[in-house]
């Protein structure tokens, strides 16, 4: 194979120094330069005034960069001499035009960066409020005007959010009920208060655990999906395209999700409550020797309509928080695929945090 450049990777080059003359020999390429640089470490360069290139038969951009470095290191920027025509032209093509390295913008100092983050927090809080109000308004509008979204999109979203989550929510709630019952059973038994396990499970599943568990699972499953979908649309300019078709992205993309999750969440939470109670029921029947009838009656008698209302209304707020946070991060995405990944993670973390925080807030409100 007669391939000139490939031969260069095999040939080696030499460098030697005679007083003020530095002689280079052989090809100067990406392959030969690391070796040359090593040899050069032992050579004194400050007396060199001329670099002789007559032996150089091939030079690439790495070679040119190397020569520039070399002549910078010599005492008085040395002359390059006896370059053949081809090398001469390469020197011109690949010259790096010194001193035009652009500066990166300076890092802000501590106070600037604190100021910046306070400022940007204020800004994002404002954005968030805008988005929230817009989503709520468009959703109210969307309840009555179904024309502003794709046909069947609410039903499709409901399936995505709801039916695929049924299994995992049912399973986890059942296990949660089981664990709660088991933990308290040991204590209650000491007082012979076995039957109260039914009260404990019923109240905690309906008022706290059901809504919260479901919300956390939905935040992980659907909140991330919302953020990923919307941010992908943002970075691929699909949202801009929608806007240019005179379609409001919020009412087209977000409102179906908002309506769907508003329908799905209470249903999923109800499922979670029932399965949780069932979990407690299993422990009651086996470990605590309660009868089916007594457990059932105790559960019914302790639960009030208010408990149910608290649990379900809470869950709807959780649902809204999940959609709004997911969409907010989705719309905030920047850059390419990388931006999508970032906002998806942030959306999940933020919505789980918000759900727990909101739950604490509700507990406080109901106590007063």
């Amino acid at each position: 194979m007669n391939n000139m450049a490939s031969d260069n990777s095999l040939k080696s080059s030499r460098i030697h120094c005679r007083d003020s003359l530095l002689i280079l020999d052989g090809p100067l390429s990406i392959h030969t330069i690391p070796e040359l640089q090593k040899n050069l470490k032992q050579t004194r360069l400050d007396t060199v005034t001329t670099i002789d290139l007559s032996g150089v038969d091939y030079i690439d951009s790495a070679g040119v960069a190397f020569l520039e470095q070399l002549s910078e290191r010599t005492g008085s920027a040395a002359n390059l001499q006896k370059a053949n025509e081809k090398v001469q032209r390469a020197l011109e093509t690949f010259s790096s035009h010194q001193n035009r390295k652009p500066e990166q913008s300076p890092e802000p100092n501590f106070f600037e960066s604190v100021g910046n983050s306070v400022y940007s927090f204020g800004e994002s809080a404002l954005d968030f409020l805008y988005l929230t109000s817009e989503i709520v308004l468009w959703s109210l509008y969307g309840i009555f005007h179904t024309g502003s979204r794709r046909k069947g999109s609410v039903i499709q979203q409901s399936f995505l959010i709801g039916s695929n989550a049924i299994g995992i929510i049912a399973l986890l709630s059942f296990v949660l009920g089981l664990i709660l019952a088991l933990q308290s059973a040991a204590q209650l038994r000491q007082f012979g208060a076995n039957i109260y396990v039914a009260d404990l499970i019923a109240i905690s599943m309906v008022r706290e655990m059901g809504p919260m568990m479901t919300a956390i699972i939905i935040a992980g499953r659907s909140g991330s999906a919302f953020a990923a979908e919307i941010s992908t649309m943002k970075v691929t300019e699909e949202l801009d395209a929608l806007r240019m078709m005179a379609i409001n992205p919020i009412s087209y993309v977000v409102v179906p999700k908002f309506l769907a999750i508003t329908i799905c969440m209470p249903l999923l939470v109800t499922l979670s409550m029932i399965l949780g109670i069932l979990g407690g029921f299993v422990i009651g029947l086996t470990y605590l020797d309660l009868t089916f009838v007594s457990y059932f009656n105790e559960t019914i008698s302790i639960l009030t309509a208010e408990d149910l209302l608290v649990g379900l209304s809470k869950s709807i707020f959780f649902a809204w928080v999940i959609v709004i946070i997911g969409s907010y991060f989705g719309f905030k995405a920047q850059g390419g695929a990388e931006g999508v990944g970032k906002v998806t993670t942030s959306a999940v973390v933020a919505s789980i945090f918000a759900v727990i925080f909101l739950d604490a807030l509700f507990s406080l409100i109901y106590m007063i």
Binding site: M1, S61, A62
Partner: protein, 246 residues
């Protein structure tokens, strides 16, 4: 006759059952700029990808630098890839790092040059494509044409012997496009680079093409020089040049 640097024999590529390239046999020659032409969707990108092994062909051989070029033979494949630069149709820059870092990747991974030298080479390459002022911007902060030029800078970072470009000048203004053409010719003349380009720009074809390959319906309709192409009496090829010029 120049040396052949790529030999393709009876190449068949299909996506599922859909045959895109049908029994193609073709040579690319050293130190030449070869332009691949053809209607949109006729399989030009697929041909490039089959040559470099990103799409595995259903049948046929590809030889590059005189040896079989097969992604299955990893060590040989990788060492040959270091002598090849590829510019993808959509740029394919890494989005999370700056333009300068993108161009530095192959230099850092495949050479033992020191940091200063790499920086200097990166700046040279960016200067060659006219992007010195954008070195520290992220790809998402560039225009479409700038992204393409940055991707070209990355493709030539290692001074490859063989360069593949998929529509380097799509989306560029005529002046920038002409500057890129000059750059490609410079690379051919000074580094003995062989270049395979897909392009539709007639002006560009006139400036750079040493040889033209015309693809149609998975077959090679024509291969030869520009002057031959214009008088080849193949209606599709003549139509292409007639419709495009004004």
């Amino acid at each position: 006759m120049p040396n052949s640097i790529i030999q393709i024999r009876n190449l068949i590529t299909q996506y599922g059952d859909k045959r895109i390239l049908d029994q193609i046999s073709l040579d690319f020659f050293e130190n030449q700029v070869t332009v691949i032409l053809g209607g949109s969707g006729c399989g030009k990108t697929t041909l490039l990808k089959s040559i470099i092994g990103l799409v595995s062909p259903a049948a046929g051989d590809v030889r590059i630098f005189g040896a079989p070029f097969d992604a299955a033979d990893e060590s040989h494949y990788n060492s040959a890839l270091r002598r090849i630069g590829v510019l993808f149709q959509n740029g394919a820059l890494l989005n999370s790092i700056s333009i300068a870092e993108n161009v530095a990747i192959p230099l850092e991974q495949h050479t033992r040059l020191d940091h200063d030298l790499i920086n200097q080479i990166v700046m040279t390459k960016l200067h060659m494509v006219g992007l010195d002022h954008a070195a520290y911007l992220l790809p998402s902060e560039l225009s479409g044409g700038m992204r393409k030029r940055a991707a070209l800078a990355r493709a030539i970072a290692l001074d490859p012997e063989l360069l593949f470009c998929d529509e380097p000048s799509a989306g560029l203004d005529p002046l920038t496009s002409a500057a890129l053409d000059d750059l490609i010719l410079t690379l051919r003349d000074q580094l003995n680079m062989s270049v395979v380009i897909v392009t539709h720009e007639l002006a560009s074809i006139h400036r750079i093409a040493d040889r033209i390959i015309f693809l149609d319906q998975g077959k090679i309709l024509f291969s030869g020089s520009l002057t031959e192409a214009k008088t080849c009496q193949i209606s599709e090829v003549e139509l292409f040049f007639k419709t495009g010029s004004f």
